[in-house]
Amino acid sequence: MTYNFNFSVIWRQFDVMLWGLGLGLLLAVISLAIGTVIGLVCGYAFRTNNKTLRALVWGYVEFIRNEPLLLLIFFVYFGLPAIGIRFFDKYESFVITLSIYAGAYLTEVFRAGLTSVPERYVEAAKAIGLKPWQTQLYVVLPLTFRIVLPSLSNNLISLFKDTSLATAIAIPELTFTARQINANTYRVMEAWLTASLLYLATCYLIAIALRQIEKRYSVIK
């Protein structure tokens, strides 16, 4: 089999692909931010003595982690309007879905993170007279974030890859643009190779960048 590569069509639409890449990154970062809030709240909920609350959070985590993301995306985008919830557009419904999805994974992350803050720091905070909320805000939270930093970066990379599913609800991210080029030009190999390389490069750049941040902050001796 011979296949003649012709990347000129790709270069002509390269800016469209880059915009798609940027859109995917943006969706991932927003979802990570919202997911972090969800994860943190649920992580704290796990530490309370309220059994109902813990059961609810456990139910949320188990349910979401066992559901395919694509099904959740369809449910929010196509399903919710059927019961009258239709005030958000395709971008918003995607971000909502991805945030809830990320939140379930991040709940686990923060639960473990909060638990692994050494007791002596909390005691030390008490000793210098910090109120409980001050202890959490100035001692526990910063430490927790340093502990979970590697997990957060892994989650960002996963979420960025997950944004490829947005193509199913007509969001013009990178996968969508690759399919467009594939369909419009029949340059199958070029379109998918370029998309794959862009994803790969971005994932590794994120990984390298975050590794630097981790090196700077995550050290607890």
Partner: protein, 220 residues
């Protein structure tokens, strides 16, 4: 004429059942291939000659850095170029199995690497050959460490089968969408599909937890 959920479920039962079989079948094929290829891949990553090791590393890192959906679409449109009449089903299974193998290889590598060097040294000291060291010392310990991440990957693969609906494989998700296109019971039938995936994946993860407890995680 009032549509009822049960009535519509009965009407759609054959196509949903077909979707169920397809999802189970693809999941099973992909996970089994992934486990076998992952074991070989993991060994090559640790013990292979340097060029092989590098090639494997490249394979594993490249496949893990590309979204599964892109792999599936690439495989679907790319294999068609070969001129062979390759169905969406085959193209999808190839992509998912390739992805699963990469993850499993990394899992196996991690498991083998995490066994303390002392174990191998001790085994060497009592004169075991490589084969014996592998079968009697490394494998039993690695197997225990592999269960949790392997189950995680398996759950991810079951979830990943839904992406094949995008290239037209009639799995549970696509069968559900077709049903919804006929009766507009959007919430009911998406909920049915969610229940299916939950039961399947929850069972899988519980099985993992059971094996983990049963065979214990040896801590050092």
């Amino acid at each position: 004429m009032q549509r009822t959920y049960l009535g519509e479920l009965m009407k759609a039962k054959w196509s949903l059942l077909q979707g169920f079989i397809t999802t189970m079948e693809i999941s099973a094929i992909v996970i089994v291939i992934g486990l076998i290829a992952g074991m070989i891949g993991g060994l090559l990553l640790v013990y292979g000659p340097k060029p092989v090791r590098l090639l494997m590393r490249l394979y594993v890192d490249v496949l893990r850095g590309i979204p599964v959906l892109v792999l599936i679409l690439f495989s679907y449109y790319g294999l068609a170029l070969l001129g062979v009449n390759i169905s969406a089903y085959t193209a999808g299974v190839v992509a998912l199995a390739g992805f699963c193998s990469a993850h499993m290889s990394e899992t196996f590598r991690g498991a083998i690497d995490s066994i303390p060097v002392g174990q191998t040294e001790a085994a060497k000291a009592i004169g075991l050959t490589f084969q014996q060291r592998f079968v009697y010392v490394l494998l039993p310990q690695a197997a225990r460490r592999i269960v949790p991440p392997a189950i995680n990957t398996a759950v991810e693969m079951v979830k990943g089968t839904t992406l094949l609906s995008i290239i037209g494989v009639l799995d549970v998700l696509l069968a559900t969408q077709q049903t919804i296109a006929r009766n507009y019971m959007v919430i009911e039938f998406y909920a049915t599909a969610m229940l299916f995936y939950f039961v399947l994946n929850f069972t899988l993860s519980r099985m993992g937890a059971y094996f983990e407890r049963r065979f214990g995680f040896i801590r050092y």
